[in-house]
């Protein structure tokens, strides 16, 4: 490849200015066409959106040589790429990333319902040439993302527990990356859904809200283990509709157990990056902005670096909570008073209500039910993470690494539900149940 590197030209590959592609059939007839999306794959490859069976596609199957012309949307600088067709992908991370991005481009250009990705045509970039021509002055970037990543590193490394790690990550996003709306979601044991454990920049925290794998940018990022980024609002990846549908499907006799997803009603830009440790999906880091085109390839890389640190931190800190230390054994300082708080648990899905307010369900619901049960029956207030792991009633899958994330979820939901019952950490692997009102437990057995 020549002196120009593809990595440095990624701003030309955002789809802001349609690219041109010239191809040539076996019999020597040239063809020239606009292409909605030239997608950056890596330092040596691009992928073109294959939407219609057209002459371009016909030609590259016969003769792989093609020439691209792309423009930088900020400076108007033109570049010519000599490329060679390699293959077409019809599923997987590259395809899903392009599909999501194309949905944004389609909605932005009035082509929703017309643009539809059939495949990602992968090309090797043989050479890049700067085409002679005038350029205009591009505005300076608002921030240096490498500096942001560097500053975030020590901050995340300083976290002593999982809750602090999440807060450090959200602080760094706000302070160093200029991101005002962000959330961290953790994958549940089934691998079918994710739940929000921390968020920043929303009127309601949405902690405990769930996203199914495959739903919207977050769900697709989780399923494909790939960064998914959309630069324009698009109905196809909108959460509002999916959530309303799932809400209307819940039966009449079942109390609502949906915590509303906190996301922006009309996001202009969305970016979801998987938090992956080895082959395992730990969760998703999600950021969004009302403005279109807020995140580019560099933001994607910077967030991926932050997500990698989060993954390492989650792994480290989850392990650390298996052993206990410190932990003052002094009795709870609070004396419950006032009207009894009715805690109702539905055995069918471990959903728990405080009086009539939904608190949590699933594993976190089972944990809470054990804590309040032990408290009411045995007067206990001090607990360890280890005993929760070993308790068969909680039904934690073997070797689950998610206990600590569930405790954070439970702690934050309780704090948001008024604080009559709370949990707080008292040391590594230890925590305390704090009860301000007398508790009354009511169990609703599963119907048979």
């Amino acid at each position: 490849m020549s002196g120009l590197s593809l990595d440095a030209l990624r701003d030309c590959l955002e789809g802001a200015i349609p690219a041109l592609v010239a191809t040539c059939s076996a019999d020597g007839t040239p063809n020239v066409s606009y292409v909605s999306q030239v997608h950056y794959v890596d330092g040596e490859h691009v992928a073109l959106s294959f939407q219609f069976f057209n002459k371009t596609r016909h030609n590259v199957l016969e003769n792989p040589h093609a020439t691209l012309l792309v423009a930088n949307p900020a400076t108007a600088a033109l570049y010519r790429f000599a490329v060679e067709y390699l293959r077409t992908e019809t599923g997987g991370p590259l395809f899903e990333g392009m599909k999501a991005k194309l949905a944004g481009i389609a909605s932005h250009t009035g082509m929703a319902g017309v643009f539809h990705l059939k495949g990602a045509d992968v090309y090797r970039v043989r050479s890049i040439e700067r085409v002679a021509g005038s350029v205009c002055h591009a505005p300076l970037p608002h921030r240096n993302l490498l500096a942001a990543v560097r500053r975030a590193g020590p901050a995340l490394a300083s976290a002593r527990d999982l809750g602090a790690l999440f807060e450090q990550a959200l602080d760094a996003l706000e302070r160093d990356f200029g991101v005002r709306h962000a959330m961290i979601l953790i994958a549940d044991e089934s691998g079918e859904s994710l739940y929000t454990v921390a968020s920043r920049g929303y009127p309601q925290s949405g902690i405990g809200s769930e996203i199914r794998c495959g739903d919207g940018v977050i769900g697709v990022a989780a399923r494909e283990r790939a960064a998914i980024r959309i630069n324009h609002s698009t109905a196809e990846y909108c959460y509002g509709r999916a959530l309303r549908e799932s809400a209307s499907q819940s039966g009449d006799d079942v109390l609502p157990t949906e915590i509303p997803f906190p996301g922006l009603a009309a996001p202009g830009s969305q970016l979801a990056v998987p938090i992956v440790h080895g082959a395992r999906l730990a969760g998703v880091l999600f950021v969004e902005d009302p403005e279109a085109g807020r995140f580019n390839y560099d933001d994607e890389d910077a967030l991926a670096a932050l997500a990698a640190q989060l993954a390492a931190g989650i792994q480290l800190l989850q392990g650390a909570e298996t052993d206990e230390d410190g932990g003052s054994a002094k009795d709870t300082a609070l004396t419950p008073r006032g009207r009894a708080l009715v805690i109702r648990r539905y055995a069918a899905n471990d959903s728990v209500f405080l009086d009539d307010d939904y608190l949590i369900k699933g594993v976190a619901g089972a944990i809470f039910w054990k804590l309040v049960g032990d408290h009411v029956r045995e007067g206990r207030s001090e607990f360890t993470n280890r005993e929760l792991r070993l308790d068969p009633a909680i039904r934690l899958p073997a070797l689950s690494e998610n206990l600590e994330a569930r405790l954070i979820l439970l702690e934050r939901r309780l704090a948001e539900r008024g604080g009559d019952v709370r949990i707080e950490k008292t040391g590594r692997g230890r925590f305390r149940l704090l009860v301000r009102r007398p508790l009354e437990l009511a169990e609703v057995p599963a119907a048979h």
Partner: protein
């Protein structure tokens, strides 16, 4: 049997209306050449189309055409995506005539106005439409085929010669 021109009056008006234009050819190894063009003129009988290419930008394309290579040209209006492609067996590269200069002068402001409508006006449009090297060559050809390329199910359809 004599046949009518490939371009009907409507498409002739379209390609000369300040749309975005690009031209392609290929060399003996069938490697495509590709560059932008600055405006388009259609002869009175609609049988000859002339485009304007910067030699500084389109060296390979002009060389391929001068070697007798075939031509493909695409015309698109950014605000509506209306797009057509013309193809010819060969093209003639030449110097500008007076009537060409008039077409070129009108071209940039017309396309700039449309780019403005899709959010790429201002400094971008000014730089994008400034003629590279401040010199243009003419590329004249007789289109033999025309294709609709507006995105959608009819993209790629051949435009039949008007009766």
């Amino acid at each position: 049997m004599p046949t009518g021109p490939v371009l009907d009056a409507d498409n002739a008006a379209f390609v000369t209306s300040g749309v975005s234009i690009a031209v392609a050819s290929r060399n003996a190894q069938r490697i495509p050449s590709l560059t932008r063009a600055w405006g388009c003129r259609v002869s009175g009988d609609r049988r000859t189309v002339t485009l304007y290419v910067s030699p500084q930008q389109g060296e390979a394309l002009l060389a391929d055409l001068q070697a007798g290579g075939p031509l493909a040209a695409v015309f698109s209006l950014p605000s509506t995506h209306r797009t057509i492609q013309l193809k010819a067996r060969s093209a003639r590269v030449g110097a500008l005539a007076d009537e060409d200069r008039l077409v070129i002068e009108r071209y940039a402001p017309a396309l700039a106005a449309n780019l403005e409508r899709v959010g790429h006006g201002g400094g971008f449009a000014a730089a994008y439409l400034e003629i590279a090297g401040n010199a243009l060559a003419s590329v004249a050809f007789e289109p033999e085929e025309a294709f609709a390329q507006t995105p959608g199910p009819k993209a790629g359809a051949r435009l039949e010669r008007p009766a």
